[in-house]
Symmetry: D2
Subunit: 299 residues, 4 copies
């Protein structure tokens, strides 16, 4: 056994199951005993600590981290570095910022340890049955990990992007595109909903998901969502965002790249969470000031 | 007396007062006796009907319409045409669509009557103390009306734009720009409000209104609005829109002109009035489907 | 034989082949003898005129039009109506405006002839091997045509949308979404290209097309395009647009729906075709006026 | 004499003249002897070094820096700090990032020296005849500087914003609004230019600058620019941008504020400088792949 997985959240646990399906032995660690127990039940081997985890693996060790971006990644690295040896590979499969990944790779390189940044897409379903992974770092380390990726991913659904940081950079841009696509889809269904044709969005999404130019997984998911309730009455239209949309905009600012649609999609998410929007109030107030236009009073 | 004014709403009444201040005699008509009485109190001469109005004016008659765009303009024209004579001038000072003005000018031309489309800006205050007017139509008719415009407008605040339709076209584009400017201002104050600096928007608007690059009437109005309540707590952020923003976007579609900011400002107005926005719900639902991301439940 | 196809452009010809593959007999007509010859070579039966075409088909006749939107559709209808009988079905499979389809359906209804508006997606490839079709009109007529759609389309890739006009409306919105998605993809690859990572867009598109959240046909096409030249050096970045993007924006204006991303994508296309953009010149000139900022001189 | 001015670029020199007009004595320093000579010719007193400058001023010294943002500001501060005494005030009148100003104020506070961040607007003309200044920092220091601001600015055109950083933050947001306004104006004139009305943009700008809702300095500048050449044929439509637009977007990302129009204006500037735009090429290529749509070949 040379594979360890640290971080048994929804994504991590699904990945463990995925690897077990491929007859791989996986040692796992998580701060939550319940998560570890769940993984063990599926067939994984529990490590009581990061220390034990390292001891359980043959060299070169391959350790996949699936923990939240930011501080948690650094914490795991701090714990693991003293227990790893030159030639071992540690992979960050989470949504870290690419600049962090560049920094971390340099740090580990000094110890002879390989650090790969592996942007992972495909959602929970992908983690379980076939993910999509974009990898940055030393090519030599990528080659070591390639058999693991072959098991974890759908066919052709993984690849070597380039030097450290590139895996998470490509994943970040992927998410930026995703924001734009989802916003376009949302706008389209809004148009359908408000038309006078009494259209059934589930039927439309179903047709679009099969043979159209815009077919793809997002359209299949739209069909699935509408199948539960064509009015989506069970949720509020407040759209959360993780870091990647903003980082994409920040990268565009740095690179002087014009991304009106991706940025527009992000800003729409902000707007969706801003109930008493001050910008809109200012515009309504200005209209009132110059034209005596009425306004909707606050009660 | 050769000047008549039909339509004594907020704008029309202010214009009458404005003209009376300039020692002009003005015959007025409105469907509302109260509005007529108000104008008469200021010094205008009441006409009991469009018919009488025409009879009270010396030739060439100059009749300024200040009625809502669309059907009302056509109704007034239908009433007045039989009572006018070749060489008379009828002016649409309202917010009509430029294509309507082109059509109407052609119609009246057949009778030898001049039709001018006069886009009017400056709000209530401008109507009262000095408006801004952009005129389209026959130059000959414009020259006839020019002394009236000199009284009605601020210095240099009026001009001959070109053939019929151009006055309302230029006014429409003016409103498109206004939408974009107001949205930019709204966004800016939103940034100020949400910063950690505890800024007073009235103070900021006051400084910006004096000497800055972005100084102008809108900034003065912003200062005025914030002076009433720096949180604008008295109104809701629901922004109405009249036809001109849409027509501007439609003109851009026809002319293949890229106007992302003006269109963005218009679409933000639509969004401001859409409380349970379906587009946003679709995006939130898609996030949930692929990532198991939580959503804010509707209760 | 009860199926005729009028209009043998790239799409129409592919559809004929598609139907012939399904052992259907198809009578065809086109103004171009070459196009007819090409269809005959594949196995279609040539009609010398629309008149003969009607004569060759058993009732109820099913006639699929695949001609350019606008005048050509009306021309074909004018030619065909006198030759059709109550109960026959004529289908507009092109990219007509939904309001035109509503009008045409009413017109034909008076003669007892069914008119279906069938928005067709899937590109040339879809027309040839399995299209995606959204149909509006009388349900009774749709049921008659359903076996044909089953042959022409991929599984689940067709459906009944609702009353006349709805098929083309849904197709129009589909194209609006497509504009937004394509723009998001374009922006993403622009970010990749200008990053310092020396990424290969073909490799990235290939990975994204397999297992990622943004997988779909457009990503497969991106991979295909980059496989020819990763710099896309063979083309200029001038993006044409057919009517559907604009109609989508117009529908949004009418329905008060906020579609910033779809409209932003359309306006970016306009911008892409505007080499000496006047708007940009105005902004550059304003910067110069207030700040003495240099500008790039025109030579 | 207690006023020094460091940095005699276009803005700084105009400010010196402005202050001299108000019968103030000003000691000046710049690395360029020519710039110093120019200021001396107007009546300023030359300092041979920052050292001498400090020696020439009575306490509390008031030193206005007008140097480029970034490193130059730090360099001047490093030179001046050892020569200043508690109670002296040093003002950064340039376009520094507000976070830098917060840092610098803390640094100088340790020495008992006041640091004010003074966002300056109004262009070259404002610097010369009446600027607009937004000040952040200790209120005590602002009160000391207030008489100088009264001379330098138009009436009501200056104010105390709040703690350190707030002056430059408010100036940054001002520039963000400016970007949005200028883009809206640019789009409007693009619509005028491409209409069939043969409009004269100078005439339109002139009318709009007087009495309209969108009147303001930018419109006056537009008139001025068009008066030179109504086609703006002397410049290319490539719009530069300084840091403030991007910082505004970055602040919005941090503060979760939705600023689609300001960001859209910035991204349009990027686009204006990107001749062979890769994003547009990708979209054109995708259209070709799915529809066999022609493309404009690169030669």
């Amino acid at each position: 056994m040379n594979t360890g997985l640290i971080g048994l959240g929804k994504m991590g646990l699904n990945m463990v199951e995925n690897l077990l399906d491929h007859r791989r032995k996986v040692a796992v660690f998580d701060l939550s005993p319940e998560a570890v127990a769940a993984a063990v039940e599926k067939g994984a081997v529990a490590a009581e600590s990061p220390d034990t985890l390292a001891g359980m693996l043959q060299r070169p060790r391959i350790i996949w981290m699936m923990v939240p971006a930011g501080r948690p990644v650094d914490t795991v690295l701090e714990l693991m570095i003293p227990r790893l040896e030159p030639g071992d590979v540690i992979i960050d499969g989470g949504n870290s910022r690419y600049t962090d990944s560049e920094r971390r790779a340099k740090l580990l390189e000094q110890q002879g340890i390989f650090f790969l940044d592996a942007g992972t897409s495909g959602g929970l379903d992908g983690a379980r049955y076939g993910a999509c992974v974009m990898v940055g770092g030393a090519k030599e380390a990528y080659d070591l990990v390639e058999p693991l990726l072959r098991d974890m991913c759908v066919e052709k659904g993984y690849g070597y992007m380039g030097r450290s940081g590139s895996g998470h950079f490509v994943k970040m841009v992927h998410n930026g595109i995703e924001y734009g696509m989802m916003q376009a889809i949302g706008e389209g269904f809004d148009l359908l909903e408000s038309s006078g044709y009494d259209l059934d969005p589930e039927v439309v999404a179903g047709v679009w998901a099969n043979g159209s130019v815009i077919r793809g997984w997002l359209m299949e998911l739209a069909e699935q969502a509408f199948s539960k309730d064509r009015k989506l009455g069970y949720l509020k239209g407040e759209i959360a965002d993780s870091g990647e949309g903003r980082w994409t905009v920040e990268a565009a600012l740095e690179q002087n790249v014009s991304i009106p649609v991706i940025a527009g999609a992000l800003f729409r998410r902000y707007r969706s969470r801003s109930e008493e929007n001050f910008s809109d109030k200012v515009v309504a107030a200005l209209r009132h000031e110059f034209g005596g236009h009425g306004f909707k009073a606050n009660q």
